[in-house]
């Protein structure tokens, strides 16, 4: 039996009016857990919002309180770094549906149903990427910021960036969607479904009510993470790191041999369940699957027609989860909308994960883009 990860205190705002979701359900109150770095200037013009990916959180540039590990983008966000917290006021919020303090399946339900003290669990309403962005908009307003200098994010964070730019163009001076796409592809949905099926198939999931007796579907969630983790890497990176090497042996014996890559994946799975909630995983992967920017807007170009936002699109050559072709399609749609756009494909063998890793060219390009935007706004 694996116990759920400990509840820790998160900094958050609670908005009593709540939020009406795309599925027409209103959640009230709405809690948004967030962190900020740096100082908001007098003109309130130096705010940069960072959007995290599927299993990320608001601890972008500091020690994560549950894992004790450094912030997930601490190589990019900080004093003197490309997203310079000496210059910019950086905000990062846990997404709606997440499990680090924002309203989500792991929080007490507030719809008056169930027993007192019950968590939302699988009764948490369906959320979309746009719902996440609407919640962030409320936070940004709460912080007294009318227009963000930039919204930056990779993977699912990039999807949020695109929703921000499409939904609130006047509030986004510059947008940096990284390693993402204007919709979630069939292949991506398929991989997510394997992960969800693994969670559903774990008897410990118990129809989503595992939280009632303080256990978690560790096996299912771990398998979901293992599958997903493969999609974040590239074949070249796996070969470079592990090849066909065995764990603790030099030759195959046909007796319980374990390849290093297996051991690595198991480790990824088992550490993940100690920091992430299974029902949150189900909720957020669904939100990603529903993401299609063109939906209700006619086309991606139509979503951005007449926009004044400047865009920085970046992809990574060995990323097969969000391949360059999808970033290029996004760039072409932005061109069709006559938007101001920069686009680079970074050469790397590190796969989708490259957006989180030390990629100097990427960091230089993003930093240059952000500085350029700051110059234009005289920040």
């Amino acid at each position: 039996m694996v116990a759920p990860f400990p509840q820790v205190e998160h900094q958050r705002v609670v908005l009593p009016e709540g939020l009406t979701l795309d599925c027409n359900v209103t959640i009230a109150p709405l809690a948004i857990a967030y962190r900020t770095y740096g100082r908001l200037n007098a003109a309130r013009s130096n705010a940069v919002l960072i959007c995290h990916a599927l299993t990320g959180d608001q601890y972008v540039a500091e020690t994560q309180p549950v894992t004790g590990k450094p912030g997930w983008w601490s190589n990019l966000v900080g004093p003197g770094l490309p997203v310079d917290t000496d210059r910019f006021f950086v905000i990062c919020a846990n997404v709606l549906g997440g499990c680090m303090g924002s309203t989500g399946p792991r929080e007490p339900r507030t719809d008056g149903k169930g027993a007192p003290g019950d968590l939302w669990g699988t009764d948490f309403p369906t959320v979309t990427i746009r719902d996440m962005v609407r919640a962030q908009k409320k936070l940004v307003e709460q912080l007294g910021i009318e227009r963000l200098l930039a919204v930056i994010g990779g993977s699912m964070g990039g999807m949020q960036v695109l929703e921000w730019a499409a939904e609130y163009p006047e509030a986004v001076f510059a947008a940096a969607p990284i390693a993402c796409a204007a919709h979630h592809s069939a292949q991506n949905i398929a991989f997510h479904e394997v992960g969800r099926a693994a969670i559903h198939a774990d008897p410990a999931w118990r129809g989503g009510r595992y939280w009632t007796d303080g256990t978690i579907p560790a096996q299912g969630l771990s398998v979901a993470r293992m599958v997903a983790h493969i999609t974040y890497l590239s074949e070249a990176a796996l070969t470079r790191k592990f090849g066909r090497k065995l764990q603790g042996a030099s030759a195959v014996t046909f007796l319980e041999d374990v390849f290093q890559v297996e051991s690595y994946l198991r480790h990824q799975g088992s550490t993940f369940v100690r920091r992430f909630d299974a029902n949150s995983y189900l909720t957020i992967t669904r939100a990603m699957d529903y993401f299609d920017l063109a939906n209700e807007r006619g086309s991606v170009a139509a979503a951005f027609r007449g926009t004044d936002t400047r865009f920085f699109v970046a992809s990574f050559s060995s990323d097969w989860l969000f391949p360059t072709s999808e970033s290029r399609a996004l760039v072409r749609a932005l061109n069709a909308a006559a938007a101001r756009v920069s686009f680079v494909e970074i050469t790397t063998d590190k796969g989708h994960d490259a957006f989180l890793l030390d990629e100097p060219e990427f960091h230089r390009a993003l930093g240059g883009f952000l500085s350029g935007a700051a110059r234009e706004l005289r920040v």
Partner: protein, 212 residues
Amino acid sequence: MPDHSPIQYVAKNMRLDLRLIAEMIPEGARVLDIGCGDGALMAHLAAEKQADARGIEIDMQAATEAVSQGLAVIHGDADNDLKHYPDGAFDYVILSRTLQAVEKPQEVLAQMLRIGRHAIVSFPNFGHWQVRWRLLTTGRMPNTDTWNTPWYRTPNIHPCTILDFFDLAAKDGYVVERWLAVDERGLKAPWRRSVRLANLFGEQALVQLRRG
């Protein structure tokens, strides 16, 4: 032939033909620079002419360099990316020393004049006397200062002469608004009143077109 004012500003490290092009762009123009390299012309136009400058660059290293300077440059190429821009999105679309290297020059020109009110094209002149002389005397592909890569390695798959280019412009109904032939050092050639002389003595041509 239209008049050419003297060069007013010489940017450091900017290729000579780019300086000549920069002279042709008015204040505040919306400009697309195809094959913008590291963005030297764009940066110059933005700083000196308050232009809204965008760029396309085929070389990733150069594109990344340009983006790192905060310029609106995308990695892409003339053959594949122009068709995605809307009609009349730019005042000037620039293609500098690239026309001879694209896959479909005629289509690229047509796209340039669809998305821009004016097109500015510079290209090396294959009709230059040295080219003609080398071919005539040696019987081999010319090797000159301008045409200096062997035929099996050259990216210049569609070389043309100034006369050829003017023929294509006429055939497709474009108006030559101004043109100029220069030598390799970017000095304006004195034979600009005669296309035939320019075609013999100009190493590079710089032409501004608009739709007819």
